[in-house]
């Protein structure tokens, strides 16, 4: 049915109000953004980081100048510690690129016939989303120590999630100590437990913000094995608290892959993931495929309802309760199962080798039992 033509054209009557509303909305947005920039500037880490990147960028622009290269030629840096880019944050940067253009060049490294991103992965992803052909970049020479630099510049960014952090730290420790990741996690866990028992954790934590020399001397007093000492010193050099890395960050590495994925793509928080991680095939008493389904459903719920960590734990507990294995069968059931099994054991070989008297005896017993069973059934 055709829509009835309205008598009154409300939009037209209200057009001036709509205009001022839009104007005031954009003014508010500008005010918000200005405040946000001010806030970021005042965060010590961020400002240091930005100043550092700014300085770097300036130097690069002066040295090599800004180049425009094909977006398709750029590859993300596999060593980039930050692996989490939610769709939302890419949308945001894409909107900004579209509206204001590219305000800052990305920093890339030349590597064979392609370019590796050093800084500006969000810009690059945003540009790809917008279908941009080229991106403005400054090019730096390839560096062997790239990972450490990238790690240091982003380790203290608050938006680096614990999973990315864990993997980045493990990689860094692995390179500097030649210990395997599993061994690193194990050794760190055991030394932390020991120091905690000895009441020496505070002593260790105090070393985080001291000079490397003091850190080395401080570790000497803790009676550590060679591996332990190396590990702790590396962590302290990165200004990380070993206790916190062991308790809060490394557990992320052993999360189920689907939970890791959710942390990277959908912004699932570290502690929520740790809670959901309990939904294992063993705890749920189901196959791994079924467990993965249950986890996926619970994860989606946690994200959709934006559940707090406490609420997430509650939900997980409830799911585990719902999947409690059935209580062990009562005694009578077990006796019947045992008898059935015993009967199965009477193979045709055994029966053919038995004496006729034995067989007749068995037949009689079975007949008597069969009668009892029939009675039991008919009484139901």
């Amino acid at each position: 049915m055709a829509k009835k033509r309205p008598i009154v054209d409300m939009d037209n009557l209200f057009s001036s109000a709509n205009q001022v509303y839009q104007l005031s909305e954009s003014e508010e947005k500008i005010q918000e953004l200005t405040a946000e920039i001010e806030r970021l500037r005042q965060t010590p880490d961020a400002s240091e980081l930005e100043t550092e990147l700014e300085r770097l960028r300036d130097q690069l622009v002066q040295g090599g100048g800004i180049r425009e290269i094909l977006v398709a030629q750029i590859e993300p840096n596999p060593d980039q510690p930050r692996q989490t880019f939610t769709a939302e944050s890419i949308e945001g940067i894409a909107a900004s690129l579209e509206r204001f253009g590219q305000l800052q060049p990305a920093i890339v490294m030349e590597a064979a016939d392609k370019f590796l991103l050093f800084d500006g992965e969000r810009r690059w992803r945003g540009a790809r989303q917008l279908g941009w052909k080229t991106l403005q970049v400054v090019v730096i020479p390839s560096k062997s120590e790239l990972h450490r630099e990238a790690l240091l510049t982003s380790l203290h960014r608050e938006d680096l999630n614990p999973l990315d952090k864990a993997e980045a730290i493990l990689k860094e420790l692995n390179e500097n100590t030649q210990l395997e990741p599993e061994q690193i996690i194990r050794e760190l866990g055991s030394v932390m437990r020991r120091l905690s028992k000895q009441g020496k954790l505070a002593q260790l934590t105090e070393l985080v913000s001291t000079s490397t020399q003091t850190q080395a001397q401080g570790l000497d007093t803790l009676k550590l094995s060679e591996n332990e000492r190396t590990l702790l010193l590396e962590l302290l050099k990165l200004q990380l608290n070993p206790a916190s890395v062991s308790a809060n960050i490394f557990p992320m590495v052993s999360l189920w892959d689907d939970l890791k994925q959710a942390m990277r793509d959908s912004g699932l928080k570290g502690f929520q993931a740790v809670a959901l991680n309990q939904l294992s095939p063993k705890n749920l008493n189901v196959t791994s495929k079924k467990a993965a389904n249950i986890r996926a459903k619970a994860t989606a719920q946690v994200l959709a309802e934006n559940l707090s960590v406490a609420k997430t734990r509650q939900r997980v507990k409830q799911i585990l309760l719902d999947h409690q294995p059935e209580k062990p069968a009562p005694k009578s059931n077990r006796a019947i199962a045992t008898a059935t099994k015993t009967l199965d054991k009477l193979s045709s070989e055994i029966l053919s080798s038995a004496s006729p008297e034995q067989l007749e005896q068995l037949q009689q017993r079975l007949r008597d039992k069969l009668e009892e069973i029939s009675r039991a059934i008919s009484e139901r």
Binding site: P6, D11, S15
Partner: protein
């Protein structure tokens, strides 16, 4: 200063500002709140609607705005036999004089706000009834208020007028640099007559049109001759005709304001 100071604004005559003011005051008082009605209208209709005789210039809002004011608010009780808690600071023709004074005063538009800071009123809620213009008097209310209610008739001219009002509001908020900015509590459709197709259509699309710019549209107040009759005897409708169905038409607005007061 009371935390809820409500400006009833409309640049159209007959849009129901005074009716809305007194019914809101009455409903709030009925819910246990105290209300001061501040008349900023030279026509002084509030006095008439409250059954009071026109006030002398020195007993009106104009006196409050004068330099020599010392905090003696000329408040008169409204319907003291029937309900407690509503007081009126009357308007009157002398306010036209005030308009000129405002223009010359260095704090012009802030005069009323300044008075309320210097000589605060103890009421839970203040209601500023403004004249049907976008001149200096509503500016006084704008600079002193925390919230704004806009009564509007369901007619194209009134709708367009209210759109202009919003434009004016936006401009004034910037010029007066109000911090915090007053919030538009909503539009109140007035004299609604569902027998008219154009009105029905406007009423139907108004909430959505307003919603687009983030403004609430309250349920309509129906058109009834009893409102005129009630005002003629100086009473709110629920006191004049206790069983009239229209007495409930202000409930939603009153509820919203009462909630702001913390009731």
């Amino acid at each position: 200063m009371p935390s809820v100071r409500l400006a009833i604004l409309s640049n159209a005559g007959g849009s129901g500002k005074t009716t809305l003011s007194i019914h809101l005051a009455y409903e709030l008082a009925r819910r246990g709140a105290t209300v001061a009605l501040i008349d900023l209208d030279p026509q002084g209709s509030l006095s008439l609607f409250c059954g009071l005789s026109p006030a002398a210039p020195e007993e009106s809002t104009a006196a409050v705005l004068r330099e020599e004011f010392e905090g003696d608010w000329p408040l008169v009780q409204c319907w003291p036999e029937q309900v407690q808690g509503v007081e009126l600071c009357p308007g009157g023709l002398v306010l036209t004089q005030t308009t000129h004074e405002i223009a010359l005063h260095p704090r012009g538009s802030y005069l009323l706000a300044d008075r309320l800071v210097d000589y605060p009123l103890p009421h839970d809620c203040l209601i500023f009834d403004c004249p049907a213009t976008l001149g200096p008097l509503p500016m006084l209310a704008l600079a002193a208020c925390t919230h704004i209610l806009v009564p509007v008739q369901l007619q194209p001219k009134s709708i367009q007028g209210s759109s202009k009002l919003l434009e004016w509001l936006y401009l004034m908020k910037r010029q007066l640099r109000l911090q915090p900015e007053p919030q538009i509590l909503g539009f109140v459709p007035n004299q609604s007559d569902q027998k008219r197709a154009a009105q029905r259509q406007i009423l139907e699309s108004l909430p959505e049109t307003l919603g687009k710019i983030n403004i609430k549209c309250f349920p309509p107040v129906r058109d009834s001759a009893e409102f005129v009759n009630a005002s003629a005897v100086g009473l709110p409708l629920p006191l004049h005709r206790p069983s009239h169905p229209a007495r409930k038409d202000f409930d939603e607005v009153a509820k919203a304001v009462h909630k702001l007061i913390g009731g």
